[in-house]
Symmetry: C2
Subunit: 406 residues, 2 copies
């Protein structure tokens, strides 16, 4: 019997978990593929020779991370006739098109379920279950660190800093958490989901993103009082013949399928006229969990059931998106303040849905919800508001995802 020889690049948390899982499930892999899997070689930053490993491999599994070396490895693997599996979101959100094209040309497969939302099968569902569906929108909670922090701030009413420290203590956040809390990790994942949902060549640079560093307990308290959930949400959607892909904190109405996704879990909702919507959720990280996604891709590669990623067709990237907004303003408590702020909003045709003013001695806090309007106009209004002498801190705006047809 021909063995299934796997070249393993990277032996960190996921790499080590994959090697262990592969050993434990070798019999199952053999049952499904007719070939007994074996590790042909392991490359780390300090040991192993890539070319030697490649020469002995049928499938190359890239879990080493980084962009330039990983790109070189996967390119070489495809060119030499290997199937490849990768968990590298940064690589795919930058060089996916080159790799997917090479895979089509060489007739080899690329599996990358583990690159987005860990074991949550968002990639496979987009590539297969929804292959024939005209998708309209994808919403995702695709970063477990930020979802944990926001859940913790909601659960315990603690500060952002305390929740981050707790996430670091539990291993949900790295010592330098900036890629997670700043939104760029989620942006890379949304670029990949958007690429699959729309067959458009979305690069990470096409994704606008904001993080959660500015979220305060005030915002969480407001969300709780109104029965809203505050989440870091990735959105990819068709708008006016183009596509918008973005990541930002958002208030979700209570019935939204992502509103109840707590802790470090990830979840992805796909909307389309034909399917209404489907939602998938589960652990977005973890060694064994991610390794399980990698193993499924190895099985698919070895059984020839991994479909190619279709060629992409360029579409315009839409920058100016319409949203409802929550505004949080610190102002001097003085007659006429609300009128002046309302005037700045009115000049940009921003219509106020609700307003709450809370006095704090000489100061006051204004919280408003603004009906949907283009972000550019909201930004212009905020610019004018920030210039007012009665406004004491830069105004803060958080998007609101409302129930449609409410």
């Amino acid at each position: 019997m021909t063995p299934l020889r796997i070249g393993l690049l990277g032996h960190g948390t996921v790499g080590a978990a994959f090697e262990e899982l592969l050993g434990a499930r070798a019999g199952r892999v053999e049952q499904l593929t007719g070939r007994r899997p074996e590790i042909a070689g392991v490359l780390t930053r300090t040991r192993g020779d890539f070319d030697e490993i490649l020469a002995r491999s049928d499938v190359v599994v890239e879990l080493i991370g980084g962009v330039d070396d990983a790109l070189r490895y996967l390119r070489a693997a495809l060119e030499s006739g290997c199937d490849v599996v990768t968990a590298n979101k940064q690589l795919l959100s930058r060089h996916g098109e080159e790799l997917w094209q090479l895979s089509r040309e060489r007739g080899r497969s690329i599996g990358f379920e583990a690159a987005v939302a860990g074991v949550v099968p968002a990639i496979r569902v987009l590539r297969e279950a929804l292959a024939g569906t005209q998708i309209e929108r994808v919403h995702g909670i695709v970063n477990g660190t930020t979802n944990f922090i926001l859940s913790e701030m909601t659960r315990t009413a603690c500060s952002y800093e305390a929740a981050l420290a707790e996430a670091q203590r539990l291993g949900y956040a790295e010592s330098d958490p900036s890629d997670d809390v700043g939104g760029s990790d989620a942006a890379a994942k949304m670029a990949i989901l958007a690429r699959l949902a729309f067959d458009a060549p979305i690069h990470i640079d096409d994704v606008r993103f904001e993080g959660i560093e500015q979220i305060t307990q005030d915002d969480i308290g407001y969300a709780r009082a109104l029965g809203l959930a505050l989440k870091l949400i990735g959105t990819a959607e068709r708008i006016d013949g183009g596509i918008s892909v973005r990541v930002h904190p958002a208030f979700l109405y209570a019935g939204h399928p992502l509103a109840s996704v707590g802790g470090s879990f990830n979840a992805v909702t796909v909307e389309a006229e034909a399917i209404t919507e489907i939602t998938m959720s589960g652990p977005g990280a973890g060694g064994t969990q991610t390794a399980s996604a990698v193993l499924a891709d190895v099985i698919a590669a070895a059984s020839g059931t991994q479909r190619p990623v279709p060629a992409a067709v360029s579409v315009p990237i839409i920058e100016d998106v319409t949203s409802a907004f929550y505004l949080h303003l610190r102002v001097i408590d003085r007659p006429g303040v609300l009128a002046r702020i309302a005037q700045c909003l009115g000049e940009e045709e921003a219509s106020i849905k609700s307003v709450v003013q809370r006095g704090l001695g000489e100061h006051a806090q204004l919280v408003m919800v603004i009906h949907p309007l283009p972000e550019s106009r909201l930004r212009a209004a905020l610019g004018a508001i920030a210039e007012l002498d009665v406004v004491q801190a830069p105004p803060r705006a958080i998007r609101v995802i409302e129930e449609e047809f409410e």
Copy 2:
């Protein structure tokens, strides 16, 4: 270019929606498979000739329902070298093994995503994303009619009968709703999910099921007061070297991933040590939604990416499962009643977790939660309780799915 010729059996709601969707997405199918799809013929109960349609088809799509004719059609299709796609849960929960074996022998594929939970990709995720995973448990809300009725009873505090009438008015329930409300529809779907999760030959007759006809507003009110959700839950799990597959109403703790699935939606949670758990949810029925699942299977068949269902290995079916229970008793309000009931429970080692007694004139209502115990012992205790002269109606028991390690 060779066309992709599709023989369509059945032209009801789903069949007609499939034909329309196929027309609308023909370009996409061609892009993904290299073949332009066309309907080679349509068979209904009153028109078309199966053998003629089969002779002209590459893929046979069975949406005609029933068991005997459908079995004959699919057998003939596989034997003549066609791939097949079916949405027929009754057929697969009875004759799946024969069809899957035939498909392996002939090297043709069977797609059946639409047979369980509509467009929710439970089948594909079990067959592909979790192909290598040792699955421990599957929980499902796999019947939209009953989920709608229970959601409606919770939302509006109406009676079972009123909620059923509303479901019928909206088209979520048939005029004879017995397959749905009695649990046999869900049982067929759980048999199929269990078959895939455990590679064991589960027949619908192996599935014990109860429906929701006995659920009262009292039960719903109790669930609401405790923050529990009352759902019709299918469970398939490994227990003591065997497998249990069952369908029954259950109280779910508020954080359970299925607790927030409302209306006519379906959802499936898969648990395994390696993945922790993943949950999928979405519309479990609807013409276009189900047709979308069928279309994905047609694309998979035509692109050769539908993996065979592995051969099954028999395992014991476990009948006596341990559960926590909610008990609802109507008794005469008289000293010593609780003691006599507690004694019946104690003799079967049923331990009371909580009890609420409400007086209603001469009568009283006792609601208890019992710590987990084997169902056989609970049933024995209930038998003894029913014999007590102070008990005025047959005691009712509903399982409780508690948070693990609580």
